[in-house]
């Protein structure tokens, strides 16, 4: 049996490892465009200089030896021939597979803003190459525009904030991290970054990039008519799935990305998918779980994905931590919003008919995981006779035979 895994991030690394745990004798090949194994969620720590490349590795240094996996790195998959079961690589090599896991992830999308796609120094923050390019540029630039104030954009700001650059964040929403935070929680970060000299242009649209004769960016024009000086633009306005190599195959994709079911199966036998390549729920834990689940089903061990709660995240910028779960803005008047705050902490819970639908914790996140489970599993909390902010596991306490907890 030869398993081939495409991609060396959360899904691919966990998928290949799981295949080895389930099948001691199989041949496992992992193909990656990346030359290193690294966690893309902490690339801003590489930009800021607090981590080197080695410290970005999340798989353990001896991963490929330990799990006896052949790694073909720095090579892109060009084509997947699902009839012959062959993968063609950018180095002209062809690899035959019995079963393949597609965990090829996604790439930054550069929006169609005039001149943006042809200019130099336009970088998305997704891959180590991007982070390296950004880091290299720091020495000879002064003005940076970060386009998009989602988690990737603010990660980029966090990575650059101590280099003395003139940073401007341009965002269409009226606050930063609009998917994760409400106005209050977002304003705390805006204030902290402001104090570090970061400028925010919120509720605006980028319209045109002025470039010089050498295609170097000069100024980004926004819809107010204002021009923002820039030598480098970090584009953090979303991603597109890496599915180009599937276009001549019968493998089904949609406008988001690769289609696979809760077992990781695509429409073609022996071809599985996991992670961000689906274009849905692009968060680390989902990618890890999908990789593990697909690998189990590839090895004949039936396992089904049950966790589809994807709107959850934590962040920790400038010493202020936040957890964001589910709905963070009141959907309508049938929901109830409760808020508890002091100078350093902010907690908000949105609930309705005994169920919690969303929460923000900012400041102290201690023991906050309980809320994730209550929201994900839609657990009725009306039996708990405590203030909603004090709910803990005690009212659900239940022990399984193997002494693990359950609900």
């Amino acid at each position: 049996m030869r398993y081939v895994v495409i991609g060396s991030s959360a899904s691919g690394i966990n998928g290949a490892k799981t295949l080895r745990e389930l099948d001691k004798d199989a041949e496992i090949i992992l193909i990656s465009k990346d030359e290193q194994v690294y966690s893309r969620c902490i690339l801003h720590h590489y930009i800021s200089g607090i981590r080197d490349i080695k410290a970005l590795n999340f798989s353990g240094e001896d991963y490929f030896e330990k799990y006896n996996i052949r790694w073909i790195n720095g090579v892109e998959v060009i084509k997947l021939d699902d009839e012959e079961q062959i993968i063609e690589l950018s180095n002209k090599q062809s690899i035959k597979y019995d079963k393949v896991l597609i965990a090829s992830g996604a790439s930054p999308f550069i929006p169609p803003i005039e001149n943006l796609r042809k200019a130099n120094n336009i970088i998305g923050l997704r891959n180590l190459d991007d982070a390296q390019e950004i880091k290299k540029a720091i020495d000879h630039i002064k003005n940076v525009v970060v386009l998009g104030a989602g988690l990737v954009g603010i990660d980029a700001v966090a990575g650059l904030v101590d280099y003395g650059l003139n940073i401007t964040v341009v965002e269409m929403a009226d606050r930063i991290l609009a998917m994760q935070l409400d106005h209050y929680a977002a304003s705390k970060y805006e204030k902290l970054f402001n104090e570090k000299g970061v400028n925010f242009k919120l509720g605006v649209k980028a319209e045109k990039l002025i470039i010089d004769d050498g295609n170097n960016p000069k100024e980004l024009i926004i819809n107010t008519g204002e021009g923002i000086p820039c030598d480098l633009i970090i584009v953090a306005t979303g991603v597109r799935s890496n599915i180009n190599f599937l276009k001549d195959s019968q493998v089904e994709t949609n406008k988001f990305g690769l289609i696979f079911n809760a077992k990781g199966q695509t429409n073609v036998e022996n071809i599985y998918g996991a992670g961000d390549v689906s274009g849905k729920n692009p968060i680390w834990p989902t990618a890890v779980k999908e990789g593990i689940i697909a690998a189990n089903n590839m090895a004949g061990n039936e396992l089904i994905m049950t966790d589809f709660f994807g709107s959850k995240n934590t962040m920790n910028y400038l010493g202020l931590a936040t957890m964001s779960l589910g709905k963070v803005i009141l959907p309508d008047e049938t929901y109830i919003e409760e808020i508890e705050k002091d100078e350093n902490n902010y907690k908000k819970i949105i609930h309705k008919d005994g169920k919690i639908y969303g929460a923000i914790m900012q400041g102290d996140l201690s023991y906050g995981g309980i809320l994730t489970q209550l929201i994900r599993a839609k657990i009725d909390v009306s039996k708990v006779k405590k203030p909603i902010f004090n709910i803990d596991y005690s009212d659900f306490f239940n022990i399984k035979e193997n002494l693990e907890y359950t609900y």
Binding site: A10, S39, C41, I42, H45, R51, A55, N57, F58, S59, G60, W284, P285, V288, K289, I292, K312, N313, T314, M315, N316, G319, A321, M323, L325, D364, L365, S366, Y367, G368, G369, I370, L371, T372, Q373, K383, V384, K385, K386, D392, Y393, S394, D395, F397, I399, N402, L403, E404, Y405, Y407
Partner: protein, 135 residues
């Protein structure tokens, strides 16, 4: 693997386990706790070192790992990026950051770092409410 068995009915909320935990780790914080439910009953909350550990699945640095030999979910504070995704991921609300620097995850290590290598809370519990069992 061995897990700490919790006999909730025997717990009298004396917090000897909490104290033992703090001392065993030379820490300002506890890695386990005892909470009270809506009816005044004690509930000892201890890391279960889960078979399918959410904290491990969600760790983006590899700092949180399940040791397949011992079953213990191990945490490497030096590799941790303080993103706190594990705090969010634990369905039972076991994890928190340390209260001094707000950086290190207060994660039960079954007292692996101590001389005896076995949980101090279990040894000190006067009620036998927590015991070490092979599962």
């Amino acid at each position: 693997m061995k897990r700490i068995k919790i006999d909730r009915d025997k717990c009298i909320g004396c917090l000897t386990c909490t104290t033992a935990c703090i001392i065993s780790h030379g820490s300002a914080d506890n890695r386990s706790r005892v909470v009270i439910d809506s009816y005044g009953k004690y509930a000892p909350i201890f890391c279960r070192h889960c078979e399918k550990p959410e904290c491990v699945y969600t760790c983006m640095t590899g700092a949180m790992k399940k040791n397949q030999d011992t079953g213990i979910v191990e945490y490497d504070k030096d590799h941790c990026a303080n993103c706190f995704m594990c705090i969010m991921a634990c369905p039972y609300g076991v994890l928190k950051p340390d209260s001094v620097e707000h950086k290190v995850i207060m994660k039960c290590d079954m007292c692996q770092g101590t001389e005896s290598g076995s949980p101090s809370c279990v040894k000190k519990c006067p009620m036998n409410a927590i015991t070490l069992e092979e599962v």
